[in-house]
Amino acid sequence: MNKKSIFFKDSAFKYLVGGSSLIVVAFFVMIFVMLAVRSYPSIANDPLMIFGSTWDVNSGIYGGIPAILGTLASSAIAVALAVPISLGMSVFFTEYAPRRVRAALSIVIDMLATIPSVIFGIWGLWIVAPLVKTYVQDPIVGSIGFIPLFSGPAYGLSLFLASLVLTFMIVPIISSLTISLLSTTPVELREAMISLGATRWEVVRHVALPFSKLGIFASIILALGRALGETMAVTMVIGNSFVWPFSSISLFSPASTITSKIASELYEAVDVLHVSSLVELGLILLVITLLVNSSARLVITRISRRNASG
């Protein structure tokens, strides 16, 4: 009897942990399924409507291209700005910073990573926006505003502002990964370079950075994935309008992203077509972010495979 009960408990536990894992898998699958099901009305109505260029709730036209492009553009700009900043800080951290500074910096990076997005949003909206408008947007519009990319009128809320706030949100991601990569450059390679009389920077440039190239690339992709899905900070500072890019290509015009559209419209959407179009946008976002994140993972697997054999 005792043996049976032990065997029973062992099996029960095995099924418990296995079952929980399957529940998690089920959740994941259900996310896809539910989003697909609830976007069906929009797809059935007109499969290509979501790829149109006008979103007009009153007329029942739901073209999501401005939002999709807004998502891609804001994330791309944010990544472009974040990479030099993150790399700069990472190199400073690993090569030049004294121990105390390093300790302080790592705390700062960790803290930044935990600041909620809505906090970035309120800060971006009420503190950064006025400053950016006065000291960056207005002067630029005033001077080179004839270039469409920098043309006015510049309201505070814009694609540029959203990209800027996004930048600061993703810097910690790239930095923490890059720092750990740079610190694990094999000592022998460094020493070889140093013995040739190289300066610290030259060691970094010719040894550490190239060695960590792949990992840094992966961290950038991960940061991109994060930026694509970022909602609150972006929604609060981007202006949520369909001006960009078809009425104005300017970085300083208000724009929208998939996330800002859904966040600002879903709770008041009544019309079935409206709701299902928003859900469809969400499904598109899900697919994009999954693709981006899986590529990052593929790169990381290739790195660890290379490290294991090399």
Partner: protein, 250 residues
Amino acid sequence: MATKLVTERLSAWFGKKQVLKDISIAFEERQVTALVGPSGCGKSTFIRCLNRMHELNPGARVEGKAFLDGIDIYGMDPMDVRRKIGMVFQKPNPFPNMSISDNVVAGIKLSGEKSKADLDAIVERTLKSVGLYDEVKDDLRRSGASLSGGQQQRLCIARALAMEPEVILMDEPTSALDPASTSRIEDLIRKLKSEITVIIITHNVGQAARISDKTAFLYLGELIEYNDTKEFFESPKSPITERYITGRFG
């Protein structure tokens, strides 16, 4: 002397690689048998076949037979086997998150069955039998990992003994310890054999000569020689045995 544990043509594999070849050996009750031989020759694998831990490795396979008191070990419930045949490892492994007394009775408390035994009495008895009681009795609630290496190993032996096994397998129990601890444990083994059967793997031929009644020599997965210890060392029958004993290879 009755035989306690018998193997008949016991063979074992790791995947495709055969590490034990047809080992047939009979261990006497309440004696100390030493298993000697160069590293990697299957000694650890052999004793792990006896307490059915080898089969837990992925890709592991066992063939042949093993009997405890005439009962087929591979027909029994594996957990039963392990309670009757205890094991002590080379590197002491007390549970760090448990106190000394909890370590001693871990096998009993966590066996999945409710035990009505008086655990405190068992703790005192086994710690005394391994000579550890006086050293730790002031605070039995200390973590098991807070002891010195030699003390930790004696704790592990106590932990195994608390299960009241009939056989105890020891895989190089003193090779990670200093000489003083080593000799204490050797004394302990000499004392233990009056109650249970001991099979001890040792790298140290001197140790085998000191404490064992019988010695078996395993080389490249095969049993080369098995004899009373005195005769094993004084007049080895196989030339390989002789070369090993005289240290020509190790």
